[in-house]
């Protein structure tokens, strides 16, 4: 992480090579995050690229000294862009769209275990914020304080909410069985 800090500091001074390192370090994760939320590879790639451009522009306002996490910073940008993108296409209901794509995935990934798919559908049925909490906390391994920064929920409430979400997923899976 020391390397990341030096890259960030250099990038803040306008060093594009340092930012390239940051880009290579985070791109896969950001793209995956976008793709999981948007369910369209082309749009996800655009959003991921847009995330890095926005990150470059707002990098001077980011401060490591104030205990800011760069992970949280970049995921917050990505999340905001995903929200903007989903608002643009509000004419198509997001849930319907996700269900459609889920069906396609179901057809494509018949060889996968049915339990994994059930979990995925259970997560997709969650509230947008709840879904982000699960993705960031358990899939992207962000700490609670980092998730708190991205989702803008206080840590105490976040822990309670996470517990409730897990309970909800469990209930959903049990009801499907």
């Amino acid at each position: 992480m020391d390397d990341l800090e030096t890259w960030i500091k250099r990038a803040q001074k306008g060093d594009k090579n340092a930012f390239e390192n940051i880009y290579k370090f985070f791109f896969k994760r950001i793209y995956r995050y976008c793709n999981y939320n948007l369910k369209r590879k082309d749009v996800a790639e655009d959003i991921a690229q847009e995330t890095f451009i926005k990150c470059w522009k707002s990098l001077p306002s980011f401060s490591l000294k104030k205990g800011g996490s760069f992970q949280a910073f970049i995921f917050k940008i990505a999340r905001n862009l995903i929200i903007d993108e989903s608002r643009k296409k509000k004419t198509i209901k997001l849930e319907e769209y996700l269900e459609e794509n889920n069906d396609k995935n179901l057809e494509d990934d018949l060889d996968r275990k049915s339990e994994e798919l059930k979990i995925r559908s259970a997560i997709n049925k969650l509230d947008e914020t709840d879904k982000q909490i699960i993705i960031l906390r358990y899939f992207e391994d962000l700490s609670f304080s980092e998730v708190e920064e991205v989702v803008s929920i206080k840590s105490g409430a976040l822990r309670v909410r996470t517990h409730r979400i897990l309970k909800k997923i469990k209930e959903e899976l049990n009801s499907n069985e």
Binding site: Q12, E20, R32, E45, R120, L166
Partner: protein, 194 residues
């Protein structure tokens, strides 16, 4: 149970990323603008730092305008008015100043007058008889009226006797009579004729 579910979901999530390798840095690097952050940041911070106290002060001055003497914000009101007077040489402020000066001067004059009147009243109370005598002395008497030409009248009396002296006295009386009364009498006369 939860851990198993989450582990499976995590695998699914990672698999959803597909086989996208690294992304296209060339596309992005061309779109990155040059960072002139230092100037923007400094200017932005200076603006924010300067705006906050200005807003606070203007609010304080605005609230203080409704304050009355003796209240907590009254000195602020006075200071703001003085400051405004210094900055803008408006006529209103000059007029207010002048009017205040005039009023204070008038007060002094009134005080002086009051002091003087107090003194005169004291004097009057001390010697009321003297005043009366003075008034009486100032009033013209019939003898004085007849006296102005006392030397000539004496001469006349010496030459023409008492009859001429009485005529002179009558003339003097006519002279003393106020003119409007004469007019009135003339009008009355005219009315009588009509």
């Amino acid at each position: 149970m939860n851990k198993d579910i989450l582990e499976k979901a995590r695998k699914d999530y990672i698999h959803s990323g597909g086989s996208l390798g690294g992304g296209r840095w060339e596309d992005i690097s061309a779109r990155l603008p040059s960072q002139s952050f230092s100037y923007r940041m400094i200017v932005g911070r200076v603006i924010v730092i300067s705006i906050i106290p200005i807003l606070f002060l203007s609010g304080l001055v605005g609230v203080s305008q409704a304050s009355k003497p003796g209240e907590f914000l009254y000195p602020v009101k006075v200071a703001s008015q003085k400051f405004a007077n210094k900055i803008s040489n408006k006529l209103e402020f000059n007029i207010q100043k002048k009017s205040q000066k005039v009023l204070s001067g008038q007060d002094k004059v009134i005080e002086k007058n009051q002091e003087e009147t107090g003194e005169t009243e004291n004097k009057k109370s001390e010697s009321p008889k003297k005043d009366n005598t003075e008034v009486l002395e100032n009033k013209p008497t019939i003898t004085q009226i007849s006296q102005p030409n006392s030397s000539s009248s004496e001469n006349n009396s010496n030459s023409n006797g008492r009859g001429q002296g009485l005529e002179n006295a009558a003339e003097q009386k006519n002279k003393i009579k106020p003119e409007p009364e004469r007019g009135k009498s003339e009008e009355n006369k005219g009315r009588g004729k009509n």
